[in-house]
Each structure stands twice: as C-alpha cells, then as structure tokens.
Symmetry: C2
Subunit: 424 residues, 2 copies
C-alpha cells in the first residue's frame, strides 16, 4: 500500500487496518502453495538484498549511537550477515511447517446423521507491536501469513530503516505469489500515536500481540480495546526434591539458570527440599557460583555456603533476567507448591525428583503454563516443543497458553453436513 507520510497516524493506521480487513477473506482461502511460495520468495529476497538490508541497518545503528542507546539495545538492533541469513532460514522453516488452515481438529456424527467438523480457520487481522529487533519483522510476518492472517507490524522506532528494508523483501515475495498486498503491512511512521490507533481499532483488528519487555506490554494492556495475547512475567522455579538424583539436579539447575539468563524460561528461584540440604545444596550452589551466578538465599541456605548473600523478601517475586538466583528451603513438594503459588507467575516450573508420586503431585497441582519433571525450565520454547517458530510464550489462560506458534494464530469454525435435517 502506498501511504502518504503526511497523513496523521490515526488515519494511516485505520486505512492500513481496513485494507487488511478487506484482504482476510482472500487470505483465508489462499492455497498452502501460494503462502509457502511467498515465504520462500521472501527468504530469497532477503538474501539477495542482504547488502541493502545491512545498509539500512547501518542508518539505524548510526542514529542509535547518536541517541546514546545502551549497548544491550544496540546489540538487539544490530544486523550482520549471520543474522540476515538466520532470518531467511527462519522464513524457509516456517514454509516447511504444516499449514494449520483447514485442519480438522475434531469430527463426529450425530444420531440424526449430521456430520460436524471443527475446522481451523485464520484469526483475521493481527497487530504485532514489538521493540527494535528487526528480525521480529520477518518472524512475525511469516507466522501470521502461514496461518492465513493479515498482519500489521509496528516495530520499535529505532529499527524503522531495517524493518522497512526487510518488509520490502517480504512484500515482493507476497506480490510474486499472487497474494493480497495487504497480507503484510508495516506501519511506516515513528509516531507513537500509531500504536494507540492500533489498540483502539477493535472494529478492524482481531488481536494484538505485543512482543517485548514489561513496559511495552503494560502499556498495551492498559490501552487496548482489542483483545491481547500477551506474555507477562516469567518467574520460573526449579524445585529439587529430597529424592532427586544429585547429578541430574546439578546439571538441570545449572542449565535452567545459566544457559541463557535473559530468556523468560530461565529459572529465577531454586527451591530446595529441607531433606536435600545436607546432600544436594552445597554442590549445586558451588556450580552456580563457579559459573558466575550471584546466589541469594535464606538462613538455611547461607549456612551451607558463605558466599550466599541474604535474600530480601522481594527476591521471591523478582524476575532477574540476569546471573542471579534466589534459593529457598521448603518442606517437600507441598512446600514447593505453596511457595510457587504465592510467588510464581504461572509461566514455567520444574521438579527434579526420582519420586514419581511427588512428581505427579507437582505436575497436577501447579497451574503453570508449563510444568516439567526432570528437565530444564529453559525448554520453554515453541521450537523445543516441536511447534516450529513462535511469536512468544503466552501467560494468558484464554485462547493460547504457552508457546504461540502457527496453530495458536488460528480460530476454528464448525462445518456441518446434512441430508435435509430440520430441528424438531
């Protein structure tokens, strides 16, 4: 869509959303081949235009430096050849996923002969609001398109040149595959009022997916009149039971905390069964400290290792996203469940134990999006679940919970086949 940048953001966004809305019926019946061709062509375009994309990213990076963006934010914004290739490969991976649209979720026949099928259909128009991570432009567009949706992308303003270059590569793919151009649109203005306009467009946009940190998501929740699929806190726990295998517990705790500390599935609190203090705690803490992790513990934990810093009450409610862990003594699986219910964020929690009964209690009684037995909380990821790429991990209980992949970006309808039945 050609847009006049002089247009005010509200009008601009509503025009884009109306164009998306007008495209949904065609997109819903688009063939799998056409959608995959658009994704593969988009990948080829990203590779072919690699130099242009990097040049655009260079503009963003220069502006970011001028504006004094932090090193962490500049690292998110940065593209290089490896990252460009990863984007292209990501599109090809999504092209290889099964097409969810038209899948029969369930089918049954009634005593009166009516055949009823629950069939997957696209959601419609999805608005994705994200920070200055250019690769999200490609990922989010591809996931939404594969599920037959029209998507309106609104990336962080610092990444506008990069996102625009990536978007143009995708748009050319969509055009060459004969799909509606409004299938993927990028909001072409840095004006933050555009976000507000998206959040108000409940007549045109079916769902908003915010992807980013807490402040972005809180703004979206506060303002949105459109339903939101969101990820809030990931205060994840690993509970080491008295019956845990020591070597397994060491390996899992170290991985759950330290593999990557900035991901939502990273463990923030280690709960240790009072029965395991003498046997398990010392080596587990030693591993963490050796790996560069700061350990904050209660009195009992501190008595085991002098390097443990006293935990303050707020530590039990903190998502560090850093090389810091809080460690608390609990009384068995019931104590662990009680702590997690009070302090957890119902994201991802794991139990390490050889006691099958304790494991089942933990898995059954805790209502987290993901509960694990004898595995690292860092498996909280759509790819690791075998769902292909994901647009995020939902901590909502409605619609989609846990990893949000292509299937979770669909709805369903009922197809009923009869032979003249009328209702008595």
């Amino acid at each position: 869509m050609t847009v006049d940048l002089a247009t005010d953001p509200e009008t601009l966004v509503r025009r884009m959303a109306a164009a998306a809305r007008a495209a949904v019926d065609r997109l819903a019946i688009a063939s799998t081949d056409a959608k995959n061709a658009a994704l593969r062509e988009g990948a080829a375009n990203i590779r072919a235009r690699g130099a242009d994309i990097l040049a655009a990213n260079g503009l963003d990076m220069a502006e970011a430096e001028q504006q004094g963006l932090s090193a962490a934010l500049r690292d998110r914004l940065l593209l290089n050849r490896t990252r460009v290739e990863a984007m292209a490969k990501g599109l090809e991976d999504i092209a290889r996923l099964a097409d969810p649209v038209g899948q029969i979720i369930a089918e049954w026949t009634r005593p009166n002969g009516l055949n009823i099928a629950r069939v997957r259909v696209p959601l419609g128009v999805i608005g994705v609001i994200y920070e200055s991570r250019p690769n999200v432009t490609a990922d989010a567009a591809a996931l939404c398109l594969k599920a037959g949706n029209a998507v309106i992308l609104r990336g962080g303003s610092e990444s506008l040149h990069s996102s625009q270059a990536i978007y143009e590569a995708l748009a050319a793919g969509i055009k060459s595959a004969g799909l509606p151009e409004a299938a993927v649109q990028l909001v072409p203005t840095r004006d933050r009022a555009a976000v507000g306009a998206m959040l108000r467009a409940s007549d045109l946009i079916d769902i908003i997916v915010p992807r980013g940190g807490k402040s972005l998501i809180e703004r979206v929740i506060a303002e949105s009149k459109v339903p939101v699929i969101k990820h809030l806190d990931g205060i994840c726990h690993t509970y080491v039971d008295g019956e845990a295998n020591l070597e397994m517990a060491r390996k899992i705790v170290l991985n759950a905390k330290m593999r990557r500390t900035g991901v939502c599935g990273a463990t923030e609190t280690l709960l240790i069964d009072r029965r395991a203090i003498a046997s398990h705690l010392k080596p587990i803490i030693a591993d963490l400290i050796a790996a560069g992790c700061e350990v904050r513990g209660d009195e009992t934990v501190r008595s085991v290792d002098r390097e443990v810093i006293p935990a303050r009450p707020e530590d039990w409610d903190t998502e560090y996203l850093d090389a810091i862990i809080s460690v608390k003594t609990v009384d068995g699986v019931k104590g662990a469940i009680e702590h997690i219910r009070r302090h957890g964020s119902r994201h991802t929690d794991s139990i390490v134990t050889d006691d099958a009964k304790a494991a089942e209690t933990f898995l059954k009684e805790l209502d987290s999006a993901i509960v694990l037995h004898n595995a690292s909380t860092q498996f909280a990821d759509g790819g690791e679940f075998g769902m292909g790429a994901e647009i995020g991990i939902s901590t909502d209980k409605l619609h989609a919970r846990g990893p949000v992949g292509v299937e979770q970006l669909t709805s369903y309808k009922y197809v009923v086949r009869g032979a003249g039945q009328v209702r008595p």
Copy 2:
C-alpha cells in the same frame, strides 16, 4: 459467603472475587466425583425446595407486574413446576457430561525424549452477567463448576428472589460435596454498580460471559477490562441454490425461520439463486406466509408473490428475532457468499443444494462460526452439536467460537516429562 448488604457494591464484588480467586487451586484439582455429587445434590435440593423457589419467584413476578414489565420479559422471569424440574434435570445432565479437566488434548515425544502433553485445566474465575432468566443461575453455575471454575453470577435485578432461592439450593449441594463455598457465588444486590465492579476486576476475574440481549452485551464490551466471550448478532442466512431439491429446500427454510423465531440461529434472510426463482420460490414463500411469516423481498421476489412487502436496504442487516424474513435474489453460490460477507454476522449460514461443488465452495469460503449444507440453521446449539448444555454461542474468533460448553470453559497447560534433559 456471608455478605453485609450495607457494603458498597465495589467492595462487595471485590471480596467475592477474591474469595473465588482463593478457591481456584482447590477447585482445579477437585475430583470429578465431588463436582458431580455437588451437581446432583443441587438438583435434589432444587426439587426438594421447589415450593420455596416458586414462592420466591412469586415475589419477583409481583414486583415485575407492579413495575409494568412487558409480557415477554415476565414470561422469561416466570418459573413453574415444569421449569423447576427442567433446571434440576439440566444439572443432572451436566453431571453426566465427561469432565474436561485433566483431559489430554494432544501428546507427543520429542527426539530428545521429552514427553509433552497438552492437558485441559480450568480457566479460573468466570463472571456471568445475565438478564432476568432465573434458570440461567442453575445452568451457568453448573457448566462453570463442571469445568473446575469458580463462578460469580450476576443475574437481572428483577429475578433476584428467584435466583437467590436457586443459588441456595446449589450452594447446599456444593457444601455437602466438600467443595469450596466460593465455587459458586451470586451477587446479592440489585445495584447495577456491581456489574461495573465485575467488569473492572481484571486482577481477580479471568473472563466475563455476558448472556442476554444486544444492549447488555454492548455495555459489557464497552466497559470491560476483563476479557469477554460474547455473542453479538445472529443475522443467519439460508441460501437455496439452483440445484436444491425442492422438498428439502421448503422443509429447511420453513424450519430455519419459523421453528423458533427468537433464537440466534433463526434464519433472517433467505437468498434465492436466480436459477431457482421459477421452480422454488413460490412454494417456499407460500409455506412461510401460511405459517404466519411476513416476507420482505426485492423486485424479483415480489414479482412471484403479491403478498411480499418491498424490502428496504436496512432489511439485509436486520436481526428480526421475529416472524419476518427478508428474501433476496442472488447469482449462484458466489452471489450468496458475496451477500453474506457483506451483510452477515458470521454466526450461522446454510446452503441447500445437491451440487457438491457449490456446497464445498460455500462451506470453505464463508467464515461463519457455523456453516451448514442441507440442514436448518436452527441446529446452531451446543445440545444439538452433542456438546451437552451451553452457556451461549460465541461470535468471537478468540478462545471459543460457536457453542460454548464445558470444554470451552477450560484452558490448557503443558506437562513435560523428562529424564534429566537440559537445553543445549
């Protein structure tokens, strides 16, 4: 819960919602037997207290008459022995439904040996806001409870005595089954501010289900900070194709319009293929008129029968919920799809034809919650779908679409079983 009626509605509702929230973990792991015992005991109590319930209803009816409520509203409000028995039987029917909680929706094993199961869990706290139909108190409470949820019921103020009497019968059942008393609560005040308080309690209530007419639902949508599962318009169509069997078409159209005119699945517009005008239209219209239906049609339709009134443009967008039908000539299945996309409400639409290809086009290309071939639109109903009772028919695309039964009142979590796996 004992409530002090002098408490302001905001405080009252927040206390009830907090009590519900505190009960969700116990309710989520309540046994199927306990939930079914509560429902059966509730049914027995409703029967045993039938006279008290009818007396309470008598108070409501007397007040309704004083206030000059319309006959239609008074009929909704009225209870009699038959209706009381139907409520009791409804509870027993829900007790017989399969318990959705703990059901494994999908299960797979990853190459690394992780076993992943997607397991149904309750949603949490559900707020149901409905009009002065006392039976909804029993239906909605039972559906929410069966799915392991805590429910806060807010019925129409004219039905408060009746709802209270029914609620007390249910509450005694819940208590005798050993379930938390906060599993089912009824807002004990007529103050409409209580509704606003529910709609603002997004920290305590997971979902609001409004059940009633358009004005109730529009208020809920406008005000709610809590996600809503809602039913909007039901502008349903029956399309009679040129290849339709005449007798089948007559039977289906008559049933789709006239079986009950006030239900959301009633056909409001008949679309007739230009090829079927000469052969099908006259007898179909004659059937409708003979059954007492007012027919409003376009010029072509009027040329067939002089009793047809001219349709105005707004007729194509009107949900009559009455013995009125609009009839329009279209060019084949493509014309029908075009009209329905423009004027329909994506609720329920049916095609009558012996042409399998036209039928598949209609079923595939229309994005309505329910699409039917050779069957009456009046089958739009959870009971008719074999889903047991329903709390309504959702016209949303998120979470639950179409009939909302016990399964649709659940979420899911992922249960992951490992043997020490860590993420590379």
